[in-house]
Symmetry: C2
Subunit: 246 residues, 2 copies
Amino acid sequence: MLTKAQNKYIRALSQQKNRNEHGTYVVEGEKLAEEWLASDCKIQMVVALTDWVKMNTDLLAKHPEAEVIHAEPHHLESITGLQTANQVILVAYSNKTPKPIAAGAWCIALDTLQDPGNMGTIIRIADWFGINHVIASPGSVDFYNPKVIQSAMGGHLRVNLHKEELDAVFSKLKSPVYAATLGGENIYKLKEKTPGFILIGNESKGISEELLNIATQQITIPRKGGAESLNAAVSAGIICALLIEG
Amino acid sequence: MLTKAQNKYIRALSQQKNRNEHGTYVVEGEKLAEEWLASDCKIQMVVALTDWVKMNTDLLAKHPEAEVIHAEPHHLESITGLQTANQVILVAYSNKTPKPIAAGAWCIALDTLQDPGNMGTIIRIADWFGINHVIASPGSVDFYNPKVIQSAMGGHLRVNLHKEELDAVFSKLKSPVYAATLGGENIYKLKEKTPGFILIGNESKGISEELLNIATQQITIPRKGGAESLNAAVSAGIICALLIEG
């Protein structure tokens, strides 16, 4: 049975200040919950329909630390952040320390990225292209926002996520910084593609002046039509496809 | 003054059946409203703060067909579909007939694409790459869904949008059909890049068997990491960047 206190606690985790206070976050849906349980991520609580619990005893046995709560559909409805509740919602701990970033590898850096859908999609892009690190400036949307979790499709379990001041990271690692802007060099004509940071800016303001000054290379995906800009996550995907594979 | 009936009418346009019935849709926010008014799109109604109306008399003069309604902030709050209301909401007619698709040009085709954010982002991608046509199968999300309008960032005004059975269009035009799948040919190794249809499938089910059989070429963005797939809009962006420019 889901208690009132547990119900309140899980709903409170939709807000970043509560996630920060408790060091936990919510994962929803069968597919993601099963990925989380199959990983070595520490789980605090699993709220699920009895049928789902019965079907997943092996996965749950891997997590003796987790409290398993049998719930009715209306319990799940009352705590879901999605339009329709799934069979399972779990609460995981966010205390996993990311591996340190090493020079010589590709890395995606985000300057005050705001949209949770974009953040999740970019983590998923990193996960697809085998990029092991995503760094976001402190002003960026929280990695553990429920919409970020949903749109990253399990990327949180494979990509190291860092919240750090970007200039400090750049100056420490001395890898090239490729900054996505509207007035940079045509990305198709770039000769030097030494692995480094792919820097993506805020959805409306782009990259801050200060970081643009630090960037070793400003790059642009050439425009042929009438749009003012490309979506931040789409830009990140195209740049990865052109720099890493191309 | 915004009447109760107008308030009800505008809110009703968040639903596709009402948009279909009236042949109209909603555009929100200063930036988009100004783009719409600067275009030759027929406007039914403009609901805006008096200050905004005063600042935009020239734009409004271009649309004598539009009823201009001076509103208070709470009126806009009561009809907005966004988290916070902007200074202006307009209602436009969706009866513009798209130009016919010609063979020999790039075109994005969508098989039952469901997510409005993806649909809007793909229209924005087409708009960026100068792709003049997006065709969606009848089961796809409505082009005039408010979230599609927001995420396309004005692409509706420049890209021709078609809702048609894809197989009929493909067999009529006889252009190549490049189908994005997980098991196709490595897109980097593709030699033949004759302009044609870039076919993107449903977010969870991909492209239907029937359309895969019609496709002239199955293509894949090679995976290096652990993600199961890429987001549909990101895939569309990467494929455009590799086929059109590459």
